[in-house]
Structures are given as structure tokens and as C-alpha cells.
Amino acid sequence: MNRDQVKPPFLAALLLKIFTLGDNDFSILVEFNEEFKDKVISQGVLRARFWYWRQLFKSVPFFIGNIFSLRWFMLKNYVIIAFRNIIKHKGFSLINISGLTLGMACCLLIMLWVYDELNYDGFHKNADELFRLEVEIEYAGQLYHVPVTSIPMGPSLKEELPEIINMSRYSPENILVRKGDKRFIEFGSYADPSFLELFTFPVIKGSEENLLLNLNSILISESMAAKYFGTEDPVGKILELDNDRIFTVEAVLKDFPQNSIGRFSFLIPYENLVRKDRAPEHWGRFQTYTVFHLQKNAVIRVAEQKIVEIFRTHVSNQSENLYLQPLTGIHLYSETGGGNIKYVYIFSLIAVFILLIACINFMNLTTARSSNRLTEIGMRKISGAGRVDIIKQFIGETLVFSCLAFILSLLLVYLLLPVYGALSGKHFDLNVLKNAEIVLGIVSIVVLTGIVAGSYPALFLSSFKPLNTLKGYKIPVKFGVKNSYFRRFLVVVQFSISIFLILSTAVVFKQLRYVNTANLGYERENILFISINDNIRESYGLMKGELLRDPNILNVTAVSALPTDISRNYNGFEWEGMNKETDSDFGMNLLSIDADFFETFNINIDMGREFLEELNTDKTNYILNLSAIRSAGIDLPVGKRFSWQDRTGPRTGEIIGVAEDFHYHSLHHGIGPLVIIPEPDRYNYFCIKTGNEPALLPGTVEYIKSIWTRFSPEVPFDYKFLNDEYDLLYRAEQRIYKIFSGFTFIALLISSMGLFGLSAFVVEQRTKELGIRKILGATVPGIIRLISKEFVLLVSWSNIISCPLAYIFMNRWLEDFAYHTSIGISIFVFTAAAAFFIAVSAISVQLYRAAKANPVDSLRYE
């Protein structure tokens, strides 16, 4: 009858086969098929197929339970056999375990890093309801995110928006602190009294209520208390700030953890900042951080719109938008947060890759050596073991390996933790283990490794037919046991991953080198800088004169910001010939310098001239950079009128010169418009250019210190090199580079170990064949060529696969930089050569053994 030819749905039947794996305990397949046929007759093909699928799903729990059922005695037997095997083949077991150990250790380290990154600011009680108000500015075609807002915004918006339960402003600052003869510059912040209501920074000494209400109260951290007060109770005691203001310690706070918005050593009432500021009611001056505590059910979009509306009633600027940034996302998603979510993804991926390589190693080595276990498997099957049982055994064995490797990796991680912490700039301690998520993560890594690494060997070994194995059926040995395609595929995957990692690291290195050697448009060699405080600013000219007296000091200039990073952005600019509608909110960066700036940094003036100190009118004139001229669209700029709404009033003058563009941001960004003015009021740093001779430098520094102490004796002397500041801009990339190269090295190590073990095995298996070849006259190079041919082919494939992938990915990474190096061919060539070299070295020992072996020995047992 035609209906008898109908087969059950192929996919479902296949799944069924997999689930039962040919187990003879239950004749499920037969049952299903018979019922299926009957259903076809009684209900038609369609309903029968539907029934088949449905039955399959309903029975899934049973199948899974069946797989996992273990009897105690079998378990004992499996474990004993596992250990016996480990001891019997110490060499291979060692390679296997160490591979897994390295892989797991890397995984654990990366997991710790990722966990820390993901949990910045997560410890506050209301963390999920805290949002920072930030500004989005568009100019020169790019979108900039500025994390600061203006002073009056916080309180006003809290009044007008019901969604805002609470708000706190804070503004970090470095302030000189003095007690007795202890004088240090401390990093702390102005903060509204509500700061501690929003953020959870526990109080460990002193009262917990009514903090920061008194204008002269100060809260200090544990460490700061120890530094200034030793073991006495600081509460109620006095600290002198900024040389003339007395503050009383109200309470001591627990040290701010490293993964928070700011590691402040102290907090002082925000009102102090308000009183100090020249225009605290101005809505358009962005300079302080504002954080809101929103209601749980507040709709962010709606709140943002309301905020923008209110903002526009105070400021006419249309190019700025306000938005709410969730506090917990600042670190990873905000441009100024210091971290990047991308790297979290990348490192997680690397962790997976490395573990994968380790598992592949395990798989390859175990299956290659499987010929030893064949008799055992045959015996088991004859005694009644089903395929599922054999699988359970080998997965169990792998889990034993996994657990052993895990214990060793814990040890390794513990030893490496301090080094790793320094490398990544984080502080790791074993407290994280208390966290349930971490423990779960660790356990799942161990179990997953065991299952993944054990799956292929288990499936592979359990498929042997008992009769064949007991008859002494020798499996043809080309690469180990038959079906070596999969194993070759595994080696290719291993090396592809390793090569990809090498390439990525090389590109990062290249970019870092580019960043270091790129022409920034100004010279940063031999320049150190010291800060200008209020005392010095009054007599800066005198101090400058004194500094220049040292023969090793070639030039001195005063600036408002270091050329490595000028980020103060302003608007309120007007110029001759501007379009009042579109240009009135044009934002530009501002820099204040003195007349020696261009010479000190060797920046060219393209048109016009520099500031002349003797010229009185120059005090209100301007120099713009090329980018400003271009984006503002000012033709023939020299001589054109230009003015700026300073906080004290309009500053009108003319453009006397145009400077060549120089990079005043990190190379991530392009060069934006820059307005340069000579306003001594704004000077913040002296940049001192010294001669080239390194031997003279200490003397020069001493001299500068002496001048400093003359002009500003109460403030401790400190200086830095401009080059170091510049390097700071790329700290993230440097860290990434170090961590990347570390892990790349490990990946390579594991892959090489795998190759080493595999080749050892191959040579061993082919001893007889090689013996015969030698007798027939094969030379040592000939034999080497023969064996390495296979491996070389595999590495070639790995290169072919990973090179294009690496190219694509690294291009995308480089695009993050407005200015970047090209990837170039040399990287690929070099990496390929390195890969071959490494592979060959890994197998060379075995090759040597094979080539030198005495044919007499190998053929003796024929």
C-alpha cells in the first residue's frame, strides 16, 4: 500500500536517534515508527507527523534524565580508571592538564576583569535609579558628549520635575590641605548635602545625619584621616584648606572604592563653590556634575524632553541637547567614563577562544591516543554497556581532568593576581569569591570545559564496535586514528585563533607606535610643566623671568591648558561676516597663552602674526587655528573683528593671526576649532622647555623648585613631563595592548603544546613506517619533510582563514581613531612566518627523534 512508504519526519527521527544513541534498553525508535504508521492510516500524514514531533518533545525530559543517571559503583569505577590512565601516561596527561589549566586560568582572570568592569558604581543602594545629566553638543559635524552641566540646573530641575526625587551636584577639585606641618594636595569634591543620600558611601566615624550643611564642615576618607590624624579621632578636629580656610571634620567615610565615579579623599559643601563662582546663575556654563535620583517608574525620554524645554527657556543655544546617563553605565558607555563596553565584549570573546583552544588540545590528544582504550571499550560493551554508558564514562573522565586542572588554575590565578592587577590597573582581591554570580560562573566554566572537551572523545570512542576492537583491528594510522579530518580541522581552528590574536596585537602595537611618533603639530620633547596657583598668577611675569635665568631652560610659556588635551568648550563667539542664525551657537575650544607659546612648542603661524606683549591692544585680540577659520567660514580672517561673551562681559578685538592646526586632543578625535587668547587670568600651567642634555635635568629641576618655593612656599612643589601627560591619553590602549599580548602568548603556548603532543603521537605511531623508509634509504631531511608536510599545510590553512578576518576587525578598531596607521602587508607576512616557525619548533623535537631513530629498534617487534 502506498501509505507504507511514508517515512516519519526525517529531522525528528534523527533527533530521536541522537537522544537514544542506539541504546538497546528501549526500542523507542521502533515503537515510534509503528505508531507513526498507524497514525498515518487513521489520521493522515500531516497529523501523523505532527504527532511525531509532539511525542518527541514530551519525551525529552525522560531522555535527558536517562543520560544523566549514574549508579554509584559505576561512578567509582570510572574515577578509578580515569586516575589509572592519568598515571599510566604521565607525559600526555601532563600536557593535557597543563593546557586546560592555562585555559581555565585565563578564563578566570578575564572573568574577574569583566566582572569588575560591569560593576562600576553598582554598589549604591539606588544605583538603578541614579542618572547623571549630560550634554550632547554638535559642532564641526561631530557629536560630543560633555558630562558636566551648569550650577543652577540641578536645583531648578528638581523643583520643576516631579520625576526627580532627589538631586546632588558634585565638582571634583585638587585642594591643598594642611594640618600642622603636613601639607599635601588632596583630591576631593564639592558636594551638595544630598550627596550621601544619593550615593552609598558609608560613614564609619561621626554622626550620620545633617552632614555638609555647615559651610565649614568637611568629610574625609579613612586613609586621609590616617594620613593627617594618625590614630586620633578626627571628628571635630580642624583642617586648613587652600591656605586660609578652616574646616571642621564632621565625619569619616569609608574609602571610596576603586570602581566608583571618583575616589574622593574628602567632601566639602557645594555652597562653597557657588559662592566662589563668578556667575553661578548662568545656565550656559557647563562645569559641574549633576546627578538625579529618579522615581522608579519615571520615563526617561519624557523627563529628558522636559529638561530640554526648561533648559531652552534659560539659554538660547540650539545646538546643545541634554540627556540622562544612567550612573551604572557611565564607566562603560560614556565617553568620559574611562572604560569601554567594546573591550568587555572583546575580552570575553578572548576568554572563550583561549578555553576553546585548550579544549581542542584535549580533544586532539585524547582521541589520538585512543587506541590504548579500545580493548577496554570492547570489553565494556560486551558486558552490556550501552553507547550512552561509554559516553558517560569518558565525559566523566574529562570532568576529572577538568577538576584537577581547575584546582591548579586556582593556584595559578592566586599567584598571578598581583601582577595582573598592576597590569590592568585594577585592584583584585579574593573577596569576589563571596559573590554568588562569580561562583556560578566558575563552576559553569569547569563543567562546561569538561563537557565540551570531553564530548568529541566520548562520542568518538563510544562508536567502536566491540568485535572489531577485540579482534585487534588496527585502525589505519595516517594522523592517528581514522577520521582524522575532524582532528585536522581542530588544529586549524586552534592556530587560526592564535594567528588572529597575534595579528590583532601587532596592529595595536603599530597604532601605539604611530601615536607615539606621530607629528602632532607641536613639539613635546623636553617640556615639563608646573601648575600656576593663585599666588603665582599675580606675579607670573616675575617668576617667568627668574626661571629663564637658568641656562638649561630654553623657553617658558604660560597656558590655561596643556596642549595635549584642551577640552574647555565655549560658545558666545561672534565675528565679522557670520550668519547670525546658524552661527550664533557655534562652539569652539578656548586656550589662553602668553607670547612665548608658539615658540616654545614650535607651532607655525600660517597667516598674520603672534601676540606681542608690548602691544596693549593685543590683550583683547585673537588667534584662531585653521580648523576654526574653515568651519566658521571666515574669508581673509586677518584683521576681521572677533568677539566673545566672557563671563565678565564682551571681549572684542580682531583676529591677528591664524595658527597651523595641531592636535590638542588624543588622536581619537579630529582637530576642532580653537580660539587662542592671551589672558593671564586664566593661566594654569608653566610649560618649561629644557635643553637636550639629560645629565643637566636634575639640576634644572632643583632650580625650578627653588624658584617655586620663593613664589609659592606653602604649596608643595610638583612637576610632570608633558610626554607623560600625553601617554596618559592612551592609557586604555596601552593596557589593552599589554593584556592582549599576554593572552596571545598563552594562546600560542597552548596551541604549541597541542602540536607538540600530537606530533609526538604521530611519530610514535609511524615508527615502523619510518624505520622501513630509513632502511630503504630515506634521508634525515627527507623524513623531516615528510612529517612536517602535514603540519605545515594546516598552518597555511590557518593563515588563510585568519588573515582576512583579522584585517576586517582591526580596520574597524582603527577607525575609532580619527588618525591611524595603516595595517600594511608586513604584519601578515611576519605573523605567517612566526606561526610556521612556532609550529615547526613545536614538532622539531619529535622530528629529530624520528629522523635519528635506529630502524633496528623500531622493527624489532615485528
Partner: protein, 108 residues
């Protein structure tokens, strides 16, 4: 006395009543029909496995070696131990329900 669960009881009765035809498919459809709900293979086999382990039910494949391994049907019969368990269970059932008549049941 070895107690058996309701599910075990149902399956044992089915196996017993099906006599020569007591294999997976037939047992399942018998029960599904009687309880008017779809009784899955998973349920069936897990309980059957238990019963076999407790030695209430005996597994056997008819010596049909002409077919490939795994394609043979496995047949079940109730062991003497199983019959004893069933008998006891039936007794307990009667004792519990003794004296309650149909009209009384309908009144609930």
C-alpha cells in the same frame, strides 16, 4: 509489602491485560485511551524502567535476531512478584472504598 504508585499500578495492569501484545506502543495507546489523555513515551519508559528494576516486570525481546540491533521490539510481562504487588494493591483499594455506594459518591 511493596507499595506501588498509581502510575506503576496502571502500567502493570496494562501490561498484564495486553498479554502477548505488551510492548511500548500498545501499552501507551491502551493507557492513553483509558485515561482519555495523551500519555507520553517518556512517562511510560521511565516508569517501566523502574518496574523492571524493582523486578515487578520482566523485559524480553523475542529472539528475533534477523533484525538489526536496536530495531527489535522489547516485550514486557508481569513477574510473579508484580502480580503479588498488584493483588495487594487491589485489596487495599477495596478496603478503603468498602461500604461507599454509588449514590453516596454522587452526592459529593
Amino acid at each position: 509489602m511493596d507499595e506501588i504508585t498509581k502510575l506503576e499500578e496502571m502500567i502493570m495492569i496494562a501490561v498484564w491485560r495486553l498479554k502477548d501484545e505488551a510492548y511500548g506502543y500498545k501499552i501507551r495507546s491502551f493507557i492513553s485511551e483509558k485515561i482519555k489523555k495523551d500519555f507520553s513515551y517518556g512517562n511510560l519508559y521511565s516508569v517501566l524502567g523502574q518496574l523492571v528494576r524493582k523486578e515487578f516486570v520482566i523485559k524480553s525481546s523475542l529472539g528475533d535476531n534477523s533484525q538489526k540491533q536496536g530495531k527489535q521490539k522489547i516485550y514486557y510481562t508481569v513477574s510473579p512478584k508484580g502480580i503479588q504487588a498488584l493483588r495487594e494493591s487491589h485489596e487495599v483499594h477495596n478496603l478503603l472504598w468498602d461500604g461507599i455506594s454509588d449514590p453516596a459518591l454522587n452526592k459529593f
